[in-house]
């Protein structure tokens, strides 16, 4: 929150005049359209690509057939590959990506810090504790939904604990919140280590793979497990866009402009927990999507949250779908862990981003 206002006098002369707000707004519309078009193209392509290729025309035909709009039914194998394997995986990638991107944008807005990330306040590792615990002790009382349910529960508990501990005197200091998140992250890491220590070999393997982040186990029940949380979170987030813009001025000025800051924080922390826990519970820890996606959009179309929130959901979905497509095709027939891939690509990009913005703008963009 204070990064931008140090040394205002020493700033090198203003960077090349950026687009005025109105031009930025039309950039935002163009980007939204481009992202939507990208998704419309990538979904059938991803559905057709893999060990059993299906031509894009056939994919569209099958889609139309199932929705009762014409088209033709494919042979049994192709139908089964598309509808039991590929489509659940694609839908899951879209939901997880949108949730992570949106959660990242919200979190950066809430903390007024463009470097905040769903992992920072410990939600990801908190959710991981529940999932790992469920796997390690072979708990199965909710069937297919056990791991997601545990992950979601512990993720929510974590974020509430962080929020309660970081509050003092009725308000939340940003620094305290982030430091508390660090402590919670360490504690969650210790718990996960403990579970691993007590787990048998099969469970350890499963946990390790889950922690790397993957969509390989996608099924329709998993999609259904995520859908309500993700849809609720994605639906609520845009309602708070204008208030998040005001929060960029700082807590007090936002309050002066009529924002009930405490309430905004509570609601948004819950929405963030909902989105992150939903994503983590089915796909493990997939980093950097929540960090890089809002960054890129802010650089392209400015920091207005009315665009940033839906835009981050769209770009997050697109990025994760592309990354998952790459993860399952570049090393065929083996499959790269998705989380490893996003971190491999995401972290150098993020370093580059940091250095570039620091140099060009004299502050964090």
């Amino acid at each position: 929150m204070t990064v931008l206002d140090d040394k205002p006098g020493q700033r090198p002369q203003a960077p090349a005049a950026p687009a005025p707000p109105r031009a930025r707004r039309s950039t935002a519309w163009l980007l939204t359209a481009a992202l939507a078009a990208g998704l419309l193209v990538l979904v059938p392509v991803a559905a057709g690509t893999g060990a059993y290729p299906v031509p894009v025309g056939d994919v569209l035909g099958s889609l139309l057939h199932r929705t009762g709009l014409g088209g033709t039914e494919l042979d049994r194998v192709a139908e089964s590959v598309l509808w039991n394997v590929r489509f659940p995986r694609i839908v899951l990638a879209l939901l997880v990506g949108a949730s992570l991107g949106c959660a990242g944008a919200l979190m950066q807005g809430v903390f007024g810090n463009p470097l905040a990330e769903p992992g920072v306040i410990g939600v990801s590792s908190g959710a991981a504790v529940g999932a790992v615990g469920a796997i390690a002790f072979g708990s199965n009382f909710l069937g297919n939904w056990t791991v997601p349910a545990f992950a979601f529960g512990s993720g929510l508990v974590t974020v509430l604990v962080v929020y309660a501990m970081a509050r003092s005197g009725g308000r939340t200091e940003v620094v305290t919140l982030i430091l508390t998140g660090i402590a919670v992250n360490a504690f969650a890491g210790a718990l996960i280590g403990l579970f691993l220590f007590f787990a048998d070999t099969a469970a350890v393997n499963q946990i390790t793979f889950w922690q790397l982040g993957s969509l390989a186990q996608a099924t329709w029940p998993k999609v259904l497990a995520v859908l309500p949380c993700a849809a609720l979170g994605l639906g609520l987030a845009p309602l708070y866009a204008r208030r998040l813009d005001l929060l960029a001025l700082g807590e007090r000025p936002a309050r002066h402009l009529g924002v009930d800051v405490e309430r905004l924080r509570v609601v948004l922390v819950l929405v963030i927990a909902l989105l992150t826990a939903a994503a983590v519970s089915v796909a493990g820890v997939i980093g950097f999507v929540g960090l890089v996606v809002p960054h890129l959009l802010r650089m392209a179309a400015g920091p207005r949250h009315r665009f940033l929130i839906p835009g981050s959901a769209l770009l997050g979905a697109l990025v994760l779908l592309a990354a998952d497509l790459a993860a399952r095709t570049v090393a065929e027939p083996a499959e790269l862990p998705l989380g490893v891939l996003t971190a491999l690509l995401g972290s150098p990009f993020f370093f580059w981003l940091l250095r570039r913005t620091r140099r060009r703008q004299g502050g964090w963009a």
């Binding site: 990064v3 931008l4 205002p8 203003a14 707000p21 207005r304």
Partner: protein
């Protein structure tokens, strides 16, 4: 405890803006207000009234409690004892959206965590009116505020690329665009050059003449003498004097409050009050 907090999660109906104040209406008042920060009494029984149509300057040495008093009037700082009333109602009884239609606050330093453009920052001042009958005034209010503070020239630049003085004027433009009847400005002239200092205080005067109440924290006593209708001198959390500049700015009082000899004399040509610290060559 649980009930009210849950109730706060449900959006309340849109608050109605206040009727325009009549000259002399008390828009904010502090009554025997005590505030403690970090165990230290910062305000120690302060009484002050802010009336529509006048500019009230708060002056005093560092740490005297000027900003805290402003914060108390803005309903930022809760009073440990005593009452702060805004538009006749205890400050704590208003909701944040209701207060936003009644008072605008300029903080001492302006910061922004994301690189919004200047025009977007000024437009944020219109947020309290969103969805109301007067939303249509938005463009006019933003344009007028930017023109008045002379920031129209860099409307498209990111706030983070501005100099300290330019930022201060943009922040002031945002506060003016809010069009609240009570303006609380914390050192609006601190980062400004001579010309813009005069500009800002002229703006304060104009707003007061148009019927608003303006409270401004100032360090420059000559500016206070020239533009304020009333000056409140603070000394260690108490009001040492409150009245028109001509009466309050007495050499004895100021020298004592600032712990430094101060000279007060009329301008040789215009007769305006000049306040100058005594300097030994």
């Amino acid at each position: 405890m649980r009930g009210p907090r849950l109730a706060r999660l449900v959006p309340s109906p849109r608050p109605a803006p206040p009727p325009p104040p009549a000259p002399g209406d008390v828009l904010a008042e502090a009554e025997q207000v005590r505030v403690r920060l970090g165990g230290r009494p910062v305000l120690d029984g302060v009484d002050v009234r802010v009336r529509a149509g006048e500019v009230l300057a708060l002056v005093g040495p560092n740490g005297a409690g000027k900003s805290t008093l402003l914060g108390a009037l803005a309903a930022d700082v809760p009073a440990a004892e005593g009452v702060v009333r805004v538009h006749g109602r205890p400050a704590t009884a208003w909701s944040a959206p209701e207060l936003a239609l009644r008072r605008a606050v300029l903080p001492q330093s302006a910061s922004l965590s994301f690189p919004f453009a200047v025009e977007e920052v000024v437009r944020m001042g219109r947020a309290p009116w969103a969805g109301g009958d007067r939303e249509g005034e938005d463009d006019a209010a933003v344009a007028e505020a930017m023109a008045r503070t002379e920031v129209t020239g860099f409307a498209g630049r990111p706030f983070s690329a501005l100099s300290g003085g330019e930022r201060a004027r943009v922040a002031l433009a945002r506060v003016l665009a809010q069009r609240a009847p009570l303006l609380l400005l914390d050192e609006p002239t601190a980062a400004l050059d001579l010309r813009h200092q005069e500009l800002v205080l002229r703006l304060c005067r104009e707003r007061a003449r148009a019927g608003d109440a303006v409270v401004v924290v100032l360090h420059d006593l000559a500016l206070a003498a020239a533009y304020a209708d009333r000056v409140a001198v603070l000394r260690s959390g108490r009001i040492a004097a409150d009245g028109p500049p001509a009466r309050v700015f007495a050499e004895g009082l100021l020298s004592e409050v600032y712990d430094h000899p101060v000279e007060v004399f009329p301008h040789p040509r215009t007769g305006a009050l000049l306040v100058v610290p005594h300097r030994t060559p």
